[in-house]
């Protein structure tokens, strides 16, 4: 089965909130070798003007992949994960993610392009923080392209 081109343009409803925790930020930062104190030390983060610990630039992938799973795990989309290679990734931060954020993500399927036995599937996750008044604040945009090999490739 090949990737279903009818999914282009699809926008999913905002998913369940992701709660950004201090220990998760410390764990992720330690795993990628991000040793700057604002990732680990609350006093340093507040001293630098942040309300809480700050996420490293690529932490948003943890949030985004939960939203992307709506597409990847949908059998109708036709994405065989054993045939997938990650082609590119981009993070645009409207503000840094910090511990305490409650983040909701809207997944968009921006393009599906077939070329030379590969389907290039580009998704965009618009990540926003829930505000106390019930509104949302844009936090990060995560764009990701997967290359899916066709059956014969």
């Amino acid at each position: 089965m090949s990737v279903n081109p009818a999914y282009v343009g699809r926008e999913y409803p905002a998913n369940a909130p992701y709660s950004v925790g201090r220990e998760k930020l410390r764990e992720f930062s330690g795993a990628v070798g991000a040793s700057h104190p604002v990732h680990h030390d609350l006093v340093a983060a507040r001293g630098a003007g942040y309300p809480d610990l700050v996420a490293p630039p690529t932490f948003a992938v943890v949030v985004a992949q939960r939203a992307e799973s709506q597409l990847i795990e949908d059998p109708e989309a036709g994405i065989d994960f054993s045939r997938v290679v990650h082609a590119d990734e981009r993070f645009t931060h409207h503000r840094p993610i910090v511990a305490g954020d409650e983040l909701v993500t809207v997944l968009h399927v921006d393009s599906i392009v077939e070329r030379a036995g590969l389907a290039m599937v580009t998704t965009r996750c618009e990540i926003a923080a829930l505000l106390p008044d019930g509104g949302t604040e844009p936090v990060s945009t995560v764009t990701s392209t997967l290359a899916v090999r066709g059956e014969g490739a």
């Binding site: 040793s35 630039p57 645009t92």
Partner: protein
């Protein structure tokens, strides 16, 4: 500590300036740690038999690990991880991670562009393994 004191000034930067270099050693334990921290449990990053089955030379590092490890150089240079407002890469070559042993990545950052009006600098990162680039168009935009 004061993070302000260590921040670079936009006016001092020119295209081509090297901001620093870093060596990243990746072993299997590191991949397991990243898998747990990120929630990316794709078996190509920890299971040799599975990796071979899908045509890989063996277990490979998560591209997102390499991307995340490389930008730490920029965060530390900027003196403020929150100043990295945009970061992108292409994944051009897999990094096989031996068992036992380590795969050694070399990271270099250089100024690619300075935008005085926006108050930003673009840092271009070069990430190599055994002399070959493993990431392409790796660009971090930093607000200074």
């Amino acid at each position: 500590m004061s993070t302000e004191a260590t921040r670079p000034a936009l006016a001092d930067l020119s295209v081509g300036d090297v901001i620093g270099t870093r060596t990243v050693e990746v072993d299997r334990a590191r991949l397991v740690r990243y898998a747990g921290a990120s929630g990316d449990f794709n078996p190509i990053h920890w299971n040799d038999a599975f990796a071979a089955e899908v045509g890989l030379p063996g277990v490979i590092a998560h591209g997102m690990f390499t991307m995340g490890a490389a930008v730490a150089l920029v965060e530390d240079w900027a003196g403020d991880p929150g100043a990295v407002v945009d970061y992108q890469t292409r994944f051009t070559r897999p990094v096989p991670v031996p068992n036992p042993g380590v795969a050694t990545l070399e990271v270099t950052g250089a100024v690619g562009a300075v935008d005085a009006d926006a108050g930003t600098v673009r840092i271009d990162l070069t990430v190599t393994f055994e002399g070959a680039r493993v990431l392409g168009k790796t660009q971090a935009v930093v607000r200074l």
